[in-house]
Amino acid sequence: MAEVMRSETLNISNNTSSLASPELLHVLAVDDSIVDRKFIERLLRVSSCKVTVVDSATRALQYLGLDGDNNSVGFEDLKINLIMTDYSMPGMTGYELLKKIKESSAFKEIPVVIMSSENILPRIDRCLEEGAEDFLLKPVKLSDVKRLRDSLLKAEERVFKNIMHKRELEANDIYSQLKRTKI
């Protein structure tokens, strides 16, 4: 029955949800320790997330397209749902990275989670005041990651459902048009 429809002939809207794909959250993880990078990457993959891992705040900014001058706007098409960063890193700290992300128009809405091996209350307060979503004590637990994932997915689900509904309506519309032309 159905011929393959080429997308150019269709008027389906181009809106996409911010999910990397309907099911997967894309997490950017930042840590200067190779052991911790392997660990957090595994935790995230086991939690069904797409993961990009970098070894410094500078590289994180490069990845986001925020590494230029003050006018860097960031890469528009980059879909990141969560950033998890270590606090203590040589060069730029996780706290400084947090500030830069919150100052950028492209990424300031993205939740940023700080990870630290040290339970220092003023540090935690400072991060939360600067807009950190959460502060996790290392070693990070799988339950921490799953909890983050679940709360993000809930928020995304609503957005995604709206978009799928919209696409359904559009597809029905096209199908009716096709039926009419065949007759």
């Binding site: 320790s33 190779i34 052991v35 911790d36 392997k38 595994r42 799988l142």
Partner: protein, 138 residues
């Protein structure tokens, strides 16, 4: 894990094992390999820093912070304890304490390395046994 590893590795190591599966059967071994490569570098840096007098306690503490971090992530409890002690001596500016503790740390680290090498070998041969048994059933 049993008596062989008791005291040397804590629950964090078991967390790592839980993350391993059939699709990623060497995860723990890979993490261990990264750990020993990284800690060898740190030990080398600390060794050199300890030979330069007067000691730069800030730098030493910074190295040890990294060492403690990765040791915590792999569950190396005895090594972690020595790291903590070393940092205490750094903060107190106690050079002798640092040197003594570092010797202990290197010993614990070497022991852990041997134990883990043996542990992974036993795991590998156990897996071979299972495979052989399964093949013999056919």
């Amino acid at each position: 894990m049993g008596k062989f590893m008791q005291g040397y590795l804590d629950e964090q190591f078991m967390e790592l094992e839980e993350l391993q599966d059939d699709a990623n059967p060497n995860f723990v071994e890979e993490v261990a390999a990264s750990y020993f490569k990284d800690s060898a570098r740190l030990i080398n840096n600390i060794d050199q820093a300890l030979r330069r007098g007067p000691l730069d306690f800030n730098r030493l503490d910074s190295y040890m912070h990294q060492f403690k971090g990765s040791s915590t992530s792999i569950g190396a409890s005895k090594v972690k304890t020595e790291c903590t002690m070393f940092r205490e001596y750094c903060r107190a500016g106690n050079a002798e304490g640092c040197l003594r503790t570092f010797q202990e740390l290197k010993k614990e680290h070497a022991t852990l390395r041997k134990k883990l090498e043996h542990y992974f070998q036993v795991q590998a041969s156990d897996q071979l046994c299972v495979i052989n048994q399964l093949q013999n059933m056919c």
